[in-house]
Amino acid sequence: MNTDFYIKSYCRIKDNTVSLNDSVLFNDASKSFIDFIKSAYKNQNTKYPKFFKMDNLSKLAFLAADVLLKNENLKLENDNNIAIVFSNRASSLDTDRKHQESIQNKESYYPSPAVFVYTLPNICIGEISIKYKLYSENSFFIFDNFNASHLLTYSNSLLSSNKAHEVLCGWVEFDGENNYEAFLYLVSKTGTIKHTEQNIITLYNT
């Protein structure tokens, strides 16, 4: 299997800060996650009203992906074969809890369809695919911790078998207001940072 691939760019959203290739794009430590992510979205001038209908995990994944893909200046009329491989620990638990609360009381049983549709973690991949018109391979894995080895092997496999031209992959976790993190990166045949397990771990921990 060809393993001659590169990390072209990477984005992190954590501790109320959005960064691209370790340059801070937006920071507002004073806000709750809901207000922070809304401000960050407006700061990025994304203009995609469906963003406000997404659950927290999708907002987090969507914004991180948007920062990376906007940086690529993609032409949406082209077939952009960018696979998406995400992972996290809590799956869609934050939204699962909200749905569970809405069906807890049999006297007031009004589950929200708009909440229920987000009770799967891979829905966030769908949101990104819709926005960027990606008809590509995608997967969402659940691990106990960030798993650089799996992300490396899986994305290299997609690229070396020509299932994808590039892979948007990484970790996107939301398990409550104070426990969120997105670390996404774009793997390509060109770039400056070699796509190795050690480099993925180093960037993730930076």
Partner: protein
């Protein structure tokens, strides 16, 4: 009826997360789906839940929703006639 229409606009904006939109932006005869507010199928389901929760109206046939949810005018007329709370 005017109070109900205003209430509907406020509820729709809140329930459907129509950010950056105010009740003044929605005309009573604006199409809620399609070229109007651009609501989608999940929004339609949310409106069915809203009718039940806020006005005690249970829609058993989702096809009924097409005419009822055409505009604020049609929603208000239907709610006024069928509400149980």
């Amino acid at each position: 009826m005017d109070a109900l229409k205003q209430e509907l606009k406020e509820n729709i904006i809140e329930q459907l997360n129509l950010e950056d939109m105010s009740p003044e932006d929605i005309a009573n005869d604006d199409m809620l789906f399609g070229d109007g507010l651009g609501l989608d199928s999940i929004d339609a389901l949310e409106l069915i839940v809203m009718l039940d929760k806020s006005y005690g109206i249970k829609l058993t046939d989702p096809k009924e929703g097409r005419a009822i949810f055409e505009s604020i005018d049609t929603m208000a007329a239907y709610i006024t006639e069928h509400r149980t709370k």
